[in-house]
Each structure stands twice: as structure tokens, then as C-alpha cells.
Amino acid sequence: MKKYSVFAVAREAMRHHTGWTRAWRDAQPKKRYDVIIVGAGGHGLATAYYLGKNFGITNVAVLEKGWLGGGNTGRNTTIIRSNYLQDPSAAIYEKARSLYETMSQDLNYNVMFSPRGVIMLAQTEHEVRGYKRTAHANALQGVSTEFIGPDRVKQLVPIINLDGPRYPVLGGLWQARGGTARHDAVAWGYARACSDMGMDIIQKCEVTGVRQTGGKVTGVSTTRGDIDCDKLGFVVAGHSGQLANMAGFRLPIESVALQALVSEPIKPCMDVVVMANTVHGYMSQSDKGEMVIGGGTDGHNNYTQRGSFHHIEETVRALVETFPMISRLKMLRQWGGIVDVTGDRSPILSKTPVEGVFINGGWGTGGFKAIPGSGWGFAELMAKGHSPLTDAFGLERFAEGRFIDESVAAGVAH
């Protein structure tokens, strides 16, 4: 792997940029791997990367039915934060946030992490109480957040309207070290590092079956032939249920469409991320100047990767009241992704009823922020059989009633 640096840029500038090579190899499948990861999105690639980096397991294939980072990794609103209520969530999301801080250096790939700060607006009395409770919980968890009043919110976000008739701003939960990162770069940075360790990233390779003998996985059938493996990791977000079905078990997951949209680019006007959970909307301004807006999920099970129009209307209607200046913006693009939502709105990082098969899914509407922490913990789980980061997120918690209940704490956006 050629190292990217200012010297490399200068050297290539001298020779008309003819010396750049592919960032990662487009590999052909081999007959056998120690570990197969299904899904070349952020979580899958991060898992492969930490399997190699932390555990020296490099005979790994990452299979992808579409293209690298073409699922939810390339469809989210790139928000990174770790202000969760429950201890296991705070631990894994804070691990992820801290890994984002050094990711560009670790991967030698600019992921454009921008710790600009995230505010979650409190627009009802319950949210005020809920976020104060979260701020206290975060203090105990070692996650730096604070509850701020409306004046401070206005100072941080001058374009906000504090006294809207329906959704007044009563305060907010402020995490100064949250922010955004470039989502495609996260996938490409991990892919480049994995490829450099000798791992195979195989695109347009859809898994069609899971082969097993005596309750133990032996490999997968794919659209590009059978591939053997000792361990198999499903990291496929919305299609987790499909793969579980192939392996012969069920999941406490339902898949729904979540959508986002961006406006035309405008001059810088908001340099923090604002989330308004009461109205199902969140907004940040990209480096290009577009206002990036995320909405709520569709109200029914759905695999269509587009999202309903009336949900855009609901989201934008509410955001216009809070940010009156955006009423004149034209929206440029809208897209959707399929998110896998669990009963307690917390992810599943777990062994499964099939020996050697592991699942990392159920991240619901908030997986991007967790990518490095999820990869770190899931790699440890796959290599050693347990991990302090993932032990609380096992599938057995649904039978045992030991939920990590973030649905009340985080509302819609988490």
C-alpha cells in the first residue's frame, strides 16, 4: 500500500497524477477462508480490519452483494455521538467515537472527522427531564455531555427559532465532541487497510445459502460459487432477517425504510449538528454547504430503499418551524435505506444458534456512529468468543428480559 501524504501529493503533482494505484484490490473468491464476513459496509469492513489488526486473523473475505459501502453506510446522515442512557450503549458508542478521533491517522485515509458538536433539542418537558437524566448518566459513564439552556442553544445555532408555537426549544443535550465524518471515506479507508493486510473484498457476490454440518457452519453458497469458512459473520443491516432465515433461525428484528435528503448548497450557516427528536428531524450542514436532513422511519415493514413521501413532508414541516430560513431552500436529493430495528432499539452482537455463525445487526436508525466500536467489539467476539463491549448485546437478552432499552431514552433518532 502506498502511503498517502503531502509528499505523495507533491510527487504525483510533478508527474500528472499517473502514479496513483487502486485503493484496494477487487478480489476473486478463493475456495476457503478462516473467516467470512457478509456485508462490505462500515461495520463489516471494520470487523475485518480489527480481526486483522487486533487478532492477526487475515485469511478473511468480505462478501458484498452490491458495491462497497452501497447500503446504509452510504445512505446515512453521518452523525457521530455517544450520549446514550444505558451503560452498555455508552461504552460501545463512546469507544466508537474515540476511535473516530484518530481514524484518519490509523487508516492513513482522510475520513474528514469533524468534531463540531451535537445538540439534541429538548422541545417538551419530558425531553428536558430525559436529557438531564442522560447527562447525569453520561457523567457517570465518563462521556462528556451537558444539559444547556435555550440561550446557549441560540448562541450555538443562531438560525434556530426558540419560541415556535408547537415546538418551543426548552434546552438541549450538548455533546461538544460529537460531530460528523465522511461516510464513504470510512468504508474506503477500512477497505484499503483490509486489502493491504491481504484480505479479499468481493463485490457483486450475493450469499444465497449457508452450508452447515451437525449444527456447525462449513461455508456459504454465493452467486459466485461455494466458499468454505470456519467462522461466518452476518453484518448486513436491513437484510439480517434474510440471512438468518438461510441459516435457519429467527431474529427479533423488523426492517423498515429510513430516509434522508439534502438541500442545494448554501453558505455556511450552522456549524453544529442539531437533532430534534420530538419532530423526527435532524440537520447538519455538509462541507459542500448542503443542509443534510434526516427523517423518521416508515410506519410499516419495508425493503424498498426509498421511503414514503409524506414522511419527508412531516420532517421538513417541523424543521421549517424550528429553522425558518430553510423554508426557501430547494431540496436536491432524497434517498432511503433499510434499517433493522430490534425490540429494545439496541443492536445485536451475538453468537447464534448455529455454531460458528455470528451476527452484528439491529443497529436500527443509528449505526454509522458505531462503526469502529462495533467492528472492534465484534472482531473480539468472533476471535475469542466474548468481548466486554458486546457481551450485553447478545440475542439471549430477549428471552431473559434483560433489555438495553434505548427506545424511551433516545426516541426516534439513535
Binding site: R250, L251, P252, G299, H310, F398
Partner: protein
């Protein structure tokens, strides 16, 4: 936007007049149920990519619950039927099989 018909009041209206209620025909587990049964009833879902039998409520209309068959990959609605049934009625199964000839209700097996 889905266009749905309520089988109770026979009104056809846009999706925003209704509210989805998740998978239909779940069998409620009683006090004697095992842990696994409760897990299955409360959390485990078919979540198919394809035909889904589901509950809806006509919230801004007659207020009644009903059942519906819909394709989660194409959003095609195959029809709605009364909530007081233990299995999808024949005319719904016929409508589904016009599109998916081999379709079997997973819970029936």
C-alpha cells in the same frame, strides 16, 4: 404512499389515515408459557422480504383494527380482511398467489 381500504367501514384512503401495527396472527402466550414462547410472541418476527400479513388500524376513521396482506419488496397491497380471523381468508390467498404462485403462509407450516 399506500392506498388502503378498511374492511370495517369500507373507506379507501391514503396511508396517513391509518397506522401500522406490525405482524398479524401472533398467538398470545398465557401465564403458563415458557420463556421461549414469550420471546417468540413478544419479539421474534417473520420480517419477510415479500408477502407480509400485518395489522393496521384505521385511526383517523372508524378506529377499528384490521388485517392486510402486502408485499414488503414492492409495496403492493393484496387486500385487507377482518381482524377476527385466525388465518388469511381464501380470497386474500388467491390474490397473493396471482403474484407469488408458490406462496405459503409461514405460520401455517
Amino acid at each position: 404512499m399506500l392506498i388502503l381500504t378498511c374492511p370495517c367501514c369500507h373507506v379507501t384512503a391514503e396511508e396517513t389515515e391509518f397506522h401500522g401495527g406490525g405482524e398479524a396472527h401472533l398467538k398470545r402466550v398465557g401465564p403458563d408459557g415458557a420463556e421461549g414462547d414469550f420471546e417468540s410472541y413478544l419479539f421474534m418476527r417473520q420480517n419477510p422480504k415479500g408477502v407480509h400479513l400485518e395489522r393496521w388500524r384505521h385511526v383517523y376513521g372508524c378506529g377499528k383494527w384490521f388485517h392486510m396482506a402486502r408485499d414488503t419488496a414492492t409495496l403492493e397491497v393484496f387486500g385487507s380482511y377482518a381482524a377476527q380471523t385466525l388465518a388469511p381468508p381464501d380470497h386474500i390467498v388467491d390474490a397473493i398467489r396471482k403474484r407469488h404462485p408458490d406462496w405459503q403462509w409461514p405460520a401455517a407450516s
